[in-house]
Symmetry: D2
Subunit: 301 residues, 4 copies
Amino acid sequence: MELGMIGLGRMGGNMAQRLIKSGHRVVGFDPSTERVKEMVRLGVIGAASISELIDKLVSPRAIWCMVPSGQPTEDTVHELGGLLSPGDTIIDGGNSNYKDSIRRAGNLAEKGISFLDAGTSGGIWGLDEGYSLMVGGDADAYRRIEPVFRSLAPSSEKGVGYVGPSGAGHFVKMVHNGIEYGLMEAYAEGFELLRAKADFNLDLTQIAGIWRYGSVVRSWLLDLVELALKEDPGLKNIRAFVEDSGEGKWTVQESLDLDVPLPVIVAALQVRFRSRQDQPFGNKLLVALRNKFGGHRIKTE
Amino acid sequence: MELGMIGLGRMGGNMAQRLIKSGHRVVGFDPSTERVKEMVRLGVIGAASISELIDKLVSPRAIWCMVPSGQPTEDTVHELGGLLSPGDTIIDGGNSNYKDSIRRAGNLAEKGISFLDAGTSGGIWGLDEGYSLMVGGDADAYRRIEPVFRSLAPSSEKGVGYVGPSGAGHFVKMVHNGIEYGLMEAYAEGFELLRAKADFNLDLTQIAGIWRYGSVVRSWLLDLVELALKEDPGLKNIRAFVEDSGEGKWTVQESLDLDVPLPVIVAALQVRFRSRQDQPFGNKLLVALRNKFGGHRIKTE
Amino acid sequence: MELGMIGLGRMGGNMAQRLIKSGHRVVGFDPSTERVKEMVRLGVIGAASISELIDKLVSPRAIWCMVPSGQPTEDTVHELGGLLSPGDTIIDGGNSNYKDSIRRAGNLAEKGISFLDAGTSGGIWGLDEGYSLMVGGDADAYRRIEPVFRSLAPSSEKGVGYVGPSGAGHFVKMVHNGIEYGLMEAYAEGFELLRAKADFNLDLTQIAGIWRYGSVVRSWLLDLVELALKEDPGLKNIRAFVEDSGEGKWTVQESLDLDVPLPVIVAALQVRFRSRQDQPFGNKLLVALRNKFGGHRIKTE
Amino acid sequence: MELGMIGLGRMGGNMAQRLIKSGHRVVGFDPSTERVKEMVRLGVIGAASISELIDKLVSPRAIWCMVPSGQPTEDTVHELGGLLSPGDTIIDGGNSNYKDSIRRAGNLAEKGISFLDAGTSGGIWGLDEGYSLMVGGDADAYRRIEPVFRSLAPSSEKGVGYVGPSGAGHFVKMVHNGIEYGLMEAYAEGFELLRAKADFNLDLTQIAGIWRYGSVVRSWLLDLVELALKEDPGLKNIRAFVEDSGEGKWTVQESLDLDVPLPVIVAALQVRFRSRQDQPFGNKLLVALRNKFGGHRIKTE
């Protein structure tokens, strides 16, 4: 079938390629004309604007937005809402907050436009390995576009599914990322402890490799641990400054709304906050208090 | 080659079978004569006692202990120490504390007996999929017995390795299990949150299935999540009472000795402690305090 | 001076009494006419409605709202906004979210009405011991009403202050309550551990009493711990079901907005969530997973 | 009555002074002869050695050890055990591990010497405000020496008590310090958050002062917070490097032995571990993983 793809960056560009390989027709737009040109060379039908992209698609259209979450997605969906026709479908494959997706779906429904929130996992490996897709929204629209989802997925039967009403797709993706924070931190702590046991002088790369086969902790993330350690066993060229991209926070906020304790996911998020602090004031206050009640010495900076 | 196997339970029995399939000669002993008979039917050469097992092996012997950690392992290794000859090797494949392994290796070395601490992961799946093996101790002994390790592993090149001096194998296995606690809890929290979002009425089994392919959180544990949910989607027949088997605690103790924060692994362990409490006194004290300062009402049992 | 008091419940009624004892004139209104009558007996000048309360005060008026946060406060402030005159002041002494206070102050400022957000701590003990007051908003209004604040405080010089612009008072109170969660849980855990050490058979009431004098952990909350344990040493008549009233959650939400790790406060909040769960699904999943990979037995409910 | 005091440092010296003020006769020894001389000027009867100290006391003797925990206490108690007579009593007022105290009491009991483990809180303020004392061991010995305990306490009736058999005193003190970790961290987090809310530009010293009177979070530690902030509002001269002195770790170890979750106390301890790490390897691994799966950029050091 055919699909419009807005956003031809690392994610959108790779998805377009994966679709073309499966025989789909992809019309693509990106704010960077240079990027559009590159993708045209790879088989994408280029568009110089969103309206041109729409013109190059036959009704009922399906348009995938793969732009940064927040304002860029808001703007793109809004513009599309003004240009598309009843029966058309917008798919948001980005990491939008599920509440925004519910709102957007409601607004578009008033115009007869369908909206699918497609939680998408797989990162830069998706081009070759396929994307895990958890899709919420209009069930009829999902069925109509199913061939696209199945081509993006690791296989036509696996790693893809319609999970519920509008918002459900991005909600499931949000929880997915919360879990991801916990998994990553569990490995990080384990390797930290292995390294701290200096008298064993353990080869962390070797251990990651051993665990990848037959062990209870084998996983795709562990495959990446070995990959990273092979390149730089001491991780010397990396600064311990860990970003977060929102879904972890949203997961914690949701746990507050639903009164559900998530001790591991919250701890994993807070480790990242802490990694970005230098000389926390609260820690200094602990030092000051120890000095005040016990006369313990203070180290000055 | 040939190997003595002491302990023919779920783990030891399966390992014996896997070795026999690879052409090794396995002499086996178990306190249960019934169990020995069953294993003889599967190709094991039975022994009625540890000393008989030793007699049926040719020097330099290799004897694998697969008995519960703690006193049973202590007793078995001690008995073997009194019966074996210089040049023989004992392998402890159980979940022993690495400090015990260092001590045992030291005692045995005085008698010229080698000791290997072989951290073993894979559980009841190891028979078919192979075991992940992280081995510490005498490097020469490791090389001598390497064919056995390679046959137990998922493949002759993967999932197995010599990781360092005595204790290193069980230390690495301990950390492995600490990571396992964190990974399991991360998934548990995610599915808890998916379920708490009642308005989406999500199909958790389906979601586990989707995530298994192409997603960042795919792993062997996630495969098991799907398996468990397929059998009992609401987990209705399970009591939320989570045991721990020691390695998680040892990991946390080690973090105290090495001054390494492990927020996720500690949290995961504490979740299990909490699951075994009913009406915690500390929680009651919170209720009493809220009543005392704010007049908040107390629910009686 | 004189003050209008809206809400004559446990908090508002006590505050009215404390003000009357200091010689202030208090006009009071409460939805319950019975409650108004009781307070009239204690010296309050009763009003049958908010508009009557306003009529009984001389410009520039000062009206203290001591009603539940959320919708009741929203409604009361809104009604007052329609009835008061420029130069009048509304004080919100409840546990409102500071963002609501900023919004309300902005709306009222357009009408020339001042708004003070007065974080108030002290609970049911405030009548006798005074209230700790952290006030944000219009600095001129604060100075005008300062005699009221100083009479409510434990002493005219202590436990009271103007802390910053609109919202600052309720923000500081929110953090106060976040700290309170952490403090309470620290004591709860300590007493839980004392009790778990069964072989010492410790007298927790005695220990609370000892610690109250001279120790590093002495505090007002500890005074209440002793009080509660004296009444019911085993806390047998209390169900371990711990409510939270919002400020703890807001503190955690704020930490997410500001990227500040608050491991203790978050943990304390999650303990409360957990106390309200029965047979958590996530815990069941851990049991199921242990069974799947290790054959560990499942307890059925 | 009379008491021998071994160790005349900050703690022991102050205790000796407090006892002398109450009319007790104190014979003191310290490895530093200079320190002994100073204390003689303050009324202590000096001894040049432990045996001289013993000679200057009348049977049944009571000797208080106030030396660092661990080896120094072990050595001192051992030496005393060889020199004292049946009926004499040793009091260990230091922060010894309660298991050591149980062992020491057992060894001394064989010689007819009593042993009391006296958990002591109050730090450098104890001289003026008195010490909180939680005492375990031989109940008869406690009664014999009670006048000394009552003089050290804040008042003869308060802040002091016999809490149980040998080890109970140091166990209770250990839990006290565990709670202390949690309380300190709760305040530290609160003030960290207040400071992070930069747009309110809050005066933390003022807020600490307000909270000290009438609020739910008032405590002695909060008094010290205000004191510390008054001296250095931005804590600029303090390095955020927080030591721990053992009791926090022991509390966590005990929770592992007793299967009791202590989320707040553990978190508080781990904050201190973290404060002493620079560029944690685990954090770097998170950065590496994010780069591997999502192409997120790595900051180099």
